[in-house]
Amino acid sequence: MSITKVTSHISPNEQLIFERSQPGRAGFSLPPLDVDETPLEEMIPRELQRDDALAGMPEVTEVDVIRHFTRISTWNYSIDLGMYPLGSCTMKYNSRLNEKVARIAGFANLHPLAAEAEAQGALEVIYELQQHLAEITGLPGISLQPAAGAHGEMTGIMIIRAFIDARDGKEKSAQRRTMLIPDSAHGTNPASAHLSGFTVKTIKSTAEGLTDLDHLRELCAHGEVAGLMLTNPNTLGLFEKNIQQICDIVHDAGGLVYMDGANMNALVGVARPGDMGVDVIHLNLHKTFSTPHGGGGPGSGPCCCTKELEPFLPVPRIVQLSNGEVSTGSGSDRVFKLDFNYPQSIGRVKAFYGNYGMMLRALAYILTHGRDGLREATEAAVLNARYIAHGLVSDYEKPFDGAPMHEVVFTDKRQARKGVHTLDIAKRLIDYGFHPMTIYFPLIVSGAMLIEPTESVGHQELDQFIEAMRSIAKEALEDPELVLNAPHSTRIGRLDEAAAARKPVLRWKPAPAESHATATQS
């Protein structure tokens, strides 16, 4: 007798929750209302009341919800399952201790508009994290308000603009509206510059993969340069060894240097942007300081800057009361407050103070590592990337000779001769049990594969990854169809993204989609 209930796959099929809904099911319980009831019409006039009974929202029980999300969770790859070598996205281990810290009731239940005197512990966390980030970057002015990396970029660029406006006066400053961005930069850089009212000019990279100094000088000669947005190490994984010279050229032209700190995990404990001549930088707490990315956020993108730029940071700033000021009601001997008194500030970039839960995790990360552990993490991350670079150079084209830092770029040049491209290699890697690397970025490298192992991968797993990549290179030569049709091991195959974009279906609606719903069941 065959058992039909059981499938051999560990990932059961699961519909959308809306298709599971049954009228009358409920997953909640609330205490009975304990105040005298007022007739609804007396509170809210009928014409302002909802009249659709929230139709279409699912009616399910707690068990339905648990099974639904547990099942679909098994369709996800995650850092806990294995290596996640997404270059420039930086996926490292997410400590459970940090999750515990973020859930301490005294932080989790704290309202952002509580009186300062009753939220001293929360302000102390922010202040202490600021101090550490200032030390790590060598830049003393800090705001933790930006909610993500790109938000921090926008903040940093607006600070540059506000500084130049103040320095030159509005009229003269209006002549400086050019932001220089290397052609290898993240797409968010030009988008952030545009949001801040700048025109983007692109700087070429040299054959070595570094910023072209001659081109930079040429662009700076025009006088209208407000600044440069530079990622360092750049998105090819290479340290911009001419960084001091680059900063000098931009400064001499009257501009400021913004550093995209996405790759700061290659530098922590080894070198500091502030010492290189950088004026302002954003950090990604979810990258360098390993706050979990949750399938697409939350992030946190603090902005660190020189003393000179500090007056322009977003308000409120979190400061420690200086000696002599009277403290109010805290149990600690240090007193912290929200300071709104920065008339030159660019303003607020978010309600309240930023993604506070991420700040708790980042501080816990820093304190758990300590000064030696932070450096050790950097060393391990760079060593791992270098090990992969060494291990793959025999089978894949490495477009730049320079020794990479924490990430390394390869291309599909050799495999493409057999019709196998980067996307195919990435999909085949899934069959070997790894999450693919970043593909087709940076844009200036044709068929790019950007690999970043981070420090969270051990020797054996690095060897397995290298072996998998080499095996795919061999398959591309001997059996290209195998790679071209990958992945073979997942519950669904490659999805038709072009068709999805032509006629986008962005939400569930009841009824006619029945035929597709049955297809999932097969």
């Binding site: 369709w75 239940n109 966390v125 030390e135 510059a193 399938g295 309240f352 962005l506 297809a519």
Partner: protein, 448 residues
């Protein structure tokens, strides 16, 4: 360091294999003079035990987290079913990255597709994105989108919008060539009157209102939509207390063109202001102008249904400085929490929470207004927040209430508007018991 898998011996062996003499040589591309000479001035590593003690000790100084609280104003205390935190703590969700590879990210993608659907159902709109940082940045992005859609540059925002939201909008639009004007609210009703939308003309891109507004008053969205549409402007509706969707007519049904909201009320902890989640919904015809990420349905070669990130051509990876926004990371995990909350509560749960909030708030308002010297200055209908006028400075009174009675009674409006020294904003949700409310009322009566 216990998070780094390689042993010192393994590291030495790896160095040998790649032919690098020492760890220090890994950094040869960094000029000698730029390298740190000594260690960072960061404390030595703490053990797990020491670290927890340190954070516990700091948390003790957050007295407000332990108090009976009537604080609202953009962040709300609501009950969250136990399974919300349990499910988002599954490592398959919280340790995953942005779903760039759909074949191994269907869990996250399907959850976001459900989130987008729920946001449409709540707001009464056609489409929604995969979330924004929070309500305040969502509102700023809506203003920028209105300019893209209408090619007009003037925007009129009600001054009854949360002051911090208005500040964020000003920061965002200051270099975008958008003129953001404020329209007064009625000091009698507390609501924004369609007749007093000063400056509304055929150059206006959008009218922006919040409902319930910062003072808790429910706006007449239909009248405001009609007024905006008459000159070809869009109506942007902002909601900070998203539980109100359970009781109030949806902005979509009232004619809104863009609806943005703070989703923190849906099972997300207060956490001193973040991370929260911004909801963003609009009409079908604006699908290619919407900021942020979108998840759409797709099929594989065998006709199996799945989900992918879609309409990426709007995004900065492709369009760079011409993208609809610079948003890359959004609030995936918090959107997941909101999705689990909404699905667990279901339509009846959301409605019941909304009813309880309104009932308790109206009970509290009635009792507070009965205290001698106290009154309710605004006459418009309200949901679960309302302004109370006291007999003296509200900030002083509330500080006394907190220190002497252990109750956080509300937000003194002088924090945002010095012309309202005696007013404070009280928020009552389903988490406040009648006993809490009665304690607030009797304490205030005794303290003045």
């Amino acid at each position: 360091m216990r998070y780094i898998p390689n042993s010192p011996d393994e590291r030495a062996e790896m160095l040998r294999q790649i032919g690098v003499a020492s760890i220090e040589n890994l950094f040869d591309s960094i000029p000698e003079e730029l390298r740190l000479r000594g260690p960072l001035a960061v404390p030595a590593a703490l053990s797990e035990l020491e670290l927890l003690k340190k954070f516990d000790a700091m948390a003790v100084h957050n007295e407000a987290a332990r108090r009976i609280s009537f604080l609202g104003g953009g962040a709300y205390s609501h009950y969250s079913p136990t399974i919300v935190d349990h499910l988002i703590s599954r490592s398959e969700f919280f340790t995953a990255y942005t779903p760039y590879q759909p074949e191994i990210s269907q869990g996250t993608l399907q959850a976001i597709f459900e989130f987008q659907t729920l946001v449409c159902q709540l707001t009464g709109m056609d489409i929604a994105n995969a979330s924004m940082y929070d309500g305040s940045t969502a509102m700023a992005e809506a203003v920028l989108m209105a300019e893209r859609v209408t090619r007009r540059s003037k925007v009129i925002a009600s001054s009854a919008i949360h002051p911090e939201y208005l500040q964020v909008a000003h920061t965002y639009v200051q270099h975008a060539g958008i003129e953001l004007q404020h329209s007064p609210y009625s000091t009698e009703t507390g609501a924004t009157s369609a007749d007093s939308l000063t400056g509304l003309d055929d150059k206006t891109a959008a009218v922006v209102v919040q409902s319930p507004n910062f003072f808790g008053c429910v706006e007449d969205l239909q009248a405001l939509a009609d007024k905006a549409h008459a000159v070809g402007a869009l109506l942007i509706v902002v909601v900070t207390e998203a539980i109100s969707f359970g009781l109030l007519k949806s902005p979509g049904a009232c004619g809104a063109d863009i609806v943005v909201a703070e989703g923190q009320s849906f099972g997300v902890p207060l956490s001193f202001g973040g991370p929260y989640v911004g909801l963003f919904a609009t009409r079908d015809k604006y699908a290619r102008q919407i900021p942020g990420r979108l998840v759409g349905e797709a099929f594989d070669a065998k006709g199996r249904r799945g989900y992918v990130l879609t309409l990426a051509t709007r995004e900065q990876h492709i369009r760079r400085e011409k993208a609809t926004s610079n948003i890359c990371t959004n609030e995936g995990l918090i959107a997941l929490a909101a999705t689990i909350y909404l699905e667990t509560m279901g339509p009846r749960g959301i409605e019941e929470v909304a009813q309880q909030c309104a009932q308790k708030a109206h009970y509290a308002a009635r009792k507070l207004a009965e205290i001698e010297g106290f009154s309710l200055p605004f006459s418009a209908p309200f949901f679960d927040e309302f302004v109370v006028s006291g007999p003296g400075e509200a900030a002083t009174l509330l500080a006394k209430l907190a220190s002497e009675r252990g109750i956080d009674g509300g937000i003194a409006l002088s924090r945002y508007d010095p012309r309202r020294p005696n007013d404070f904003l009280v928020c009552v949700t389903e988490t406040n018991t009648r006993k809490d409310i009665d304690a607030l009322v009797s304490s205030l009566r005794e303290l003045v």
